[in-house]
């Protein structure tokens, strides 16, 4: 087989790593979502990655799935972030600096923020207890911001679930009192009509109703909502209302699984970056 053919095949199914540790629990559906989006997926334990960090060089995307890593003891994501900080920080930083895609969902987002990979250079963020004081599982409306990044179409609206107790994003700016840079906002909670949300449309009381943020370069995404939970039409909470005449919808009437689009966007982006990509031939 010609080398170019091999490259083409690799490019067709970019490698995505899904990182798990004790207490990760959204790993399997995240693997499933990435596979549906066309990735080659490896589910890897943080201990295994620590022993073989070289695999990062082959990967195009690293996903930090949801869950309660180490029980969220001390604080959400704290122990896993500490482990990564002590063992893998330089390799991960190299991966990010090289343009690799990183997505942290829910607990994964908490880990990325705790690590300081998000929001990055513009001060510190923290994901703190919901203003409601409790764990909330509900579907929310999101609006993607108008920035170019691999993950979404600017301005796209989403309807996907959140399920967390510690998702209130607070921003602690370094010096100035400026508001959080709008270029780094990925998603904001909206009400059903697209307006400013009140609880429970805004489930946690985040700074600027922020549901997800980007790194400065846009290749790292952290979000509290769970796109991997809406990858089939029947995942929609009231899919049965989608038929106009009130009967059970046919396949053609069913809602589009918007969560899958986020993974799809990332994998399509990786495919389009042939030859200029971490892991895809190693050329950078």
């Amino acid at each position: 087989m010609a080398d170019s053919m091999k490259d083409a095949m690799k490019e067709d199914r970019p490698l995505a790593l899904v990182l798990r540790s004790a207490g990760t629990n959204c790993d399997k559906e995240t693997v499933h979502a990435l596979e549906l989006a066309g990735a080659r997926v490896e589910l890897i334990h943080v201990n295994a990655l620590s022993e073989n960090p070289e695999i990062l060089k082959e990967a195009g995307l690293v996903a930090f799935p949801g869950g309660f890593t180490f029980g969220d003891d001390v604080a959400s994501g704290a122990v896993l972030a500490h482990i990564i900080e002590k063992r893998l920080r330089p390799m991960l930083q190299e991966f990010v600096d090289g343009g690799g895609l990183v997505i942290g969902i829910c607990n994964g987002f908490q880990v990325l923020v705790r690590l300081g990979l998000l929001p990055g250079v513009v001060g510190n963020g923290a994901l703190l207890w919901n203003r409601s004081g409790r764990f909330e599982d509900r579907w929310v409306h999101l609006e993607a911001s108008r920035v170019d990044c691999p993950w979404f179409t600017p301005g796209q609206k989403y309807f996907i679930p959140v399920a967390h107790a510690e998702g209130r994003f607070e921003w602690f700016p370094d010096a100035s009192e400026e508001s959080f840079p709008s270029s780094q906002i990925a998603f904001r909670y909206r009400d059903a009509d697209g307006g400013d949300p009140q609880y429970p449309d805004d489930p946690n009381g985040s700074h600027q109703a922020i549901a997800g943020i980007l790194s400065e370069d846009g290749n790292v995404l952290g979000m509290m909502p769970h796109p991997e939970r809406f990858v089939r039409p029947e995942h929609h909470p009231f899919w049965m209302r989608f038929r106009g005449d009130g009967s059970i919808p046919d396949e053609k009437d069913l809602p589009v699984p918007l969560g899958l689009e986020i993974f799809q966007g990332a994998i399509d982006y990786l495919r389009s970056r042939h030859g200029d990509l971490v892991g895809e031939g190693g050329v950078r």
Binding site: A22, N47, F68, D73, R114, W129, G133, R232, R241, S247
Partner: protein, 968 residues
């Protein structure tokens, strides 16, 4: 030389510090809610004990890890010392009692290892310090608040009024050590009276005839039993482990049962003999096939007594325990769904109506929900089906049912133990927590239970169980173990005892990893410390098993080996502590014959709603906890994790209308649906236990069909929760209940595949022993092929025809009767012919797309069901005219009975549907239409009974439980 440090993490940079919610709740509960400007703070405390050499690492650990966020800061102090507090602040420090599980400390130790600490020499304990402004010195308010922040069963606390320096008991102190050597208990030559005393003082819960049998056994052996032998027998013979009442001989009027369960519930399963029932009544859960390759397991357990004493830990470990049942089914099933059903006294129960020593139902419910939430959510298992019932009869003894559904391949359903297999214990370490749970659960709750039984309560560590799950699934998929079971009630004694039932075993108790030194061998053997499983491993596979668990960071210890001669030998530090013949252990229990009194149906006393209009009655029923929206609870559960859910507990236009069950796509490929539902006809129990059982089966199956299930592959789980079955009348109820459950299951052709009984649910109040109302919870699981066919219970469109399906309702057994103090009478009867015909027809209609929505009629009857359907309609309403249905309008609106549904049908479909119903002999009443005006109107006998805005009814229905979990 070790050093002690105290790291205090203060969340004063957070604009909305979170741990304060607990404090705010406590203040509200004691009647002085937090004021706007009042200082409230909750500081996390970490006590660290470490070698001198590690002292230099403490500061960075504190800043980078323990604080580690711009929202808080860490203060490090030498010794057990806290940062000064403001002069005007009072404080409460709450910490775990010695020996109680403290999961956070284990995670901190893990992080310390990463930071280079010498983990073996480090110890961590945690605490919380609450600071409160504006509390006057000498006020006993502080103690009252503390009593709500901690639970004396697992926590200890100290209160400090303003200016008072903080001094707390040494957080690192240990339990006193237990006796280590062999202890003999003389029984051979003692009197019957003495035998009873030995059982009582030892907490063995064995009756005289059982003690006499033990005495004869040891007389024949010519020696005295050791303490550990007696304990093992007590665990094995406990009601919890061997269900001696329900599998015993009962004379019931003219009937005689050699084995009540075998001749009722099991009999149906055996007679049906369905090929897709892969494992019934023999493993930790029942298993049915999805297709030829995959199957689902289902089991529902109770954890009532622990939850009564310490609701958070009790309910949490209830969830943890039933998940381990799933892990211990076959060679291990993967948990994919949790269910939960609770029974409490009403939340408005007056404080003076509580028996001494019991917690208020509101506190119980909050604690139980939190326990279920935290365990299920942390395990990553959706909790998506359940119910909450309220009745004053649960005031001293709540019920907490936890269910678990698992996924496994057919090849992993069967297990065997071969002589020579190694006994491998995995998971959490063994500690002094949960001693005597199996025997305790068979005893009455008294005001002293809090004192005497504290050992029976445990705090769970879901993280540990998640790691065990991850490791076990790998071991299963590599086919490395021959059998696995969980350590539940009775701990190792039950787990190893059951696995070695036919082989015997050598168990070296000193090889079990311990949480702390000083445990005696008997304690190790019967401790019910959580998150432990036992595997039977062929020695050739041991290395790989150890490697997998090491990779998952799970401790793994070889406790011994299975034998072939039927002797169970318990060895501790080379001394044989006990030697038991497994034949005697498992088959030596004396048979007892019980006599029951068949219950009589009491004459009807009419309920008396006074001058309430039917509109007001409907509003009161909607606000009643039994009917009111459970959304404040369900939203706290992650009911979507794993990405399989296709029907959620709440759906409809605003995602807040109640569905009849839940459904999920087990293989994430749309080829099959697993539908789960439940039925519990609480009100019926007081009227007619036979009909209660029929109605519970019927309700579970109606919910199942309405949620997309099919009778062709549906199975049932039974859960009895009963009072004092030594009372012949109460025993008579359970016999009738078993007969009713069997009759209904037979009529539907749906087998029971597993079950559990929780008997002796009694409590002492005012010097009198009281039993809970009889409860049979029936849970249903069904597998349907293809994508989910389900219309949901939410109204879809205006101008649909509303059709009431099913026979007449009755007041006896209804919520209306219970609420307005009626009693007795003959309930609506289960119809063995109509039931299956209806469910088969409904399934056909659903698959054919003939229904726009469907809702089963249960608590509150037709009026409540109509309102609930409208709640999901997004502004739709309903106009019903019931004519002179059921003669009486109260009966028509609020009566209850089996087989009843309200369905929404389009104008195009209605004629065909009604014709089909008539052909099948299904009673169908064209009751009215759906409207677009957002009002619910119901007429009966020419009178307007109900006319109300749907949204105002909905807000009444939603706010009852919200009050227990106020949003801020």
């Amino acid at each position: 030389m070790s050093r002690t440090f105290t790291v205090t993490v203060i969340h004063d940079q957070d604009p909305n510090p979170s741990p304060n919610h607990e404090l705010q709740d406590a203040l509200s509960t004691v009647g002085c809610p937090a004021e706007e400007e009042q200082l409230l703070a909750s500081d996390q405390i970490f006590y660290l004990r470490l070698p001198e050499a590690d002292a230099v690492r403490v500061d960075s650990l504190a800043t980078q890890f323990l604080a580690g966020s711009p929202a808080c800061r860490a203060v490090v102090k030498d010794g057990v010392e806290f940062p000064d507090r403001d002069g005007a602040e009072a404080a409460i420090v709450v910490q775990r009692r010695p020996g109680v599980m403290d999961p956070v400390s284990q995670s901190v130790l893990h992080a310390m290892t990463e930071s280079g600490f010498d983990q073996q020499s480090c110890q961590v304990r945690t605490a919380l310090r609450y600071r409160i402004g504006g509390i006057q010195p000498g006020d006993d308010l502080l103690e009252k608040i503390a009593d709500h922040l901690g639970n004396g069963i697992v926590d200890e606390w100290c209160t400090f009024s303003e200016g008072e320096a903080e001094k707390v008991p040494d957080p690192f102190r240990q339990f006193p050590a237990d006796a280590q050597g062999r202890v003999e208990v003389p029984v051979i030559e003692v009197s019957d009276q003495e035998l009873v005393r030995i059982s009582e003082e030892g907490g063995l819960s064995l009756d005289l005839s059982e003690m006499q049998t033990i005495r004869s056994h040891y007389v024949s052996l010519g020696r005295e039993p050791s303490e550990i032998e007696l304990e093992t027998i007590a665990q094995t013979w406990s009601e919890h482990c061997c269900h001696k009442t329900l599998t015993g001989t009962v004379r019931h009027g003219d009937l005689r049962f050699e084995n009540l369960l075998k001749e009722t519930i099991f009999q149906v399963t055996r007679d049906l003999d369905l090929p897709w029932c892969w494992s019934v009544f023999r493993d930790n859960a029942g298993v049915i096939g999805i297709d030829d390759e995959w199957g689902v397991s289902f089991k529902v357990e109770t954890h009532n007594h622990p939850s009564a004493l310490e609701p958070y830990g009790g309910a949490g470990t209830g969830v943890g325990g039933v998940i381990r049942d799933t892990l211990g089914t076959g060679l291990g099933a993967e948990p994919i769904l949790n269910t939960d059903v609770f029974c409490f006294a009403p939340v408005d129960t007056a404080q003076q109506d509580l028996p001494a020593g019991t917690l208020h139902p509101r506190r119980l419910m909050r604690g139980v929900v939190s326990g279920v939430r935290d365990y299920g959510n942390r395990m990553g298992i959706p909790t998506a089906n359940g119910a909450i019932h309220f009745h004053p009869g649960f005031v001293g003894n709540p019920l907490v049912f936890c269910g678990s559904v698992g996924l496994l391949r057919r090849e992993h359903v069967d297990k065997t133990v071969e002589p020579g297999d190694l006994i491998v214990a995995v998971g959490g370490r063994t500690g002094r927590d949960g001693i005597h749970g199996a025997t305790f659960s068979s005893r009455e709750l008294t005001e002293d239970s809090e004192q005497v039984s504290s050992g029976a309560v445990q705090i769970g560590n879901p993280l540990e169980e998640k790691k065990v799950l991850d490791g076990l699934m790998r071991v299963r998929d590599e086919n490395l173990c021959r059998a696995v079971t969980d350590c539940g009630a009775g701990g190792f004694s039950s787990a190893v005892g059951e696995m070695g039932e036919h082989t015997g075993a050598d168990v070296y108790l000193d090889r079990a990893p311990l949480k702390y030194p000083g445990l005696g061998p008997t304690e190790v053997w019967i401790s019910e410390a959580q998150e432990r499983m036992v595997l039977a491993v062929d020695p050739v596979n041991l290395d790989r098993v150890e490697q997998i668990f090491a990779e998952e960071e799970v401790e793994c210890a070889v406790l011994g080996q299975f034998r072939e001669d039927g002797q169970l030998r318990l060895i501790h530090k080379e001394e044989v502590m006990g030697e038991l013949d497994v034949e005697f252990l498992h088959n030596g229990r004396p048979e007892t014959e019980l006599v029951s009194t068949p219950p009589v149906i009491r004459a009807a006393t009419d309920p008396d709603p006074g001058s309430l209009s039917q509109q007001q009655i409907l509003e009161e029923l909607l606000a009643d906890g039994n009917v009111a929206s459970k959304e404040p609870v369900v939203r706290q559960y992650d009911h979507e994790v794993q990405g399989r859910m296709t029907l959620r507990p709440f759906a409809g236009a605003d995602r807040d209308a109640p569905m009849d069950g839940c459904a999920l796509d087990p293989l994430r490929d749309g080829r099959h649906q697993v539908v789960v539902s439940c039925g519990l006809a609480l009100g019926m129990g007081a009227v007619d236990p036979y009909q209660m059982a029929c109605h519970s089966v019927d309700e579970a199956l109606r919910n199942c069909i309405a949620s997309g299930g099919t009778l062709e592959r549906a199975a049932l789980i039974d859960n009895y929760a009963w009072g004092d079955v030594r009372d012949p009348e109460i025993l008579g109820q359970i016999v009738e209940c078993s007969r009713g459950a069997a009759a209904a299951a037979k009529a539907y052709g749906t087998p029971f595949i597993s079950g559990k009984d929780s008997l002796h649910n009694t409590y002492r109040a005012g010097g009198v022993s009281r039993s809970i109302p009889p409860v049979l919870l029936v849970s249903a699981i069904s597998v349907a092929e293809g994508p989910l066919f389900v219309p949901g219970s939410d109204l879809k469109a205006a101008d649909s025809v509303m059709v009431l399906l099913g026979p007449a309702a009755a007041i006896p057994g209804s919520l209306f009767q219970m609420k307005y103090r009626g009693d007795g009478g003959t309930p609506a009867l289960f119809d063995e012919d109509l039931g299956p015909t209806m469910l088969a027809s409904l399934r056909r209609w659903i698959v054919a797309g003939r229904l726009r929505s469907i809702h089963d009629l249960s608590d509150g009857g037709l009026a409540v069901a109509a309102a609930e359907m409208a709640f999901g309609g997004g502004g739709l309403g309903m106009d019903l005219d019931l004519g002179d249905l059921d003669q009486d309008s109260h009966r028509a609106l609020f009566g209850e009975g089996p087989h009843r549904f309200l369905v929404e049908v389009s104008a195009e479909q209605i004629d065909a549907l009604l014709a089909d119903a008539q052909d099948q002999g299904i009673p169908a009443l064209r009751a009215g239409i759906s409207t677009d005006d957002g009002s619910l109107r119901i007429r009966h006998g020419g009178n307007r009974c109900i006319e109300s805005r749907v949204d105002s009814l909905k807000s009444i229905w939603k706010r009852s439980l919200e009050a227990t979990w106020p949003t801020r």
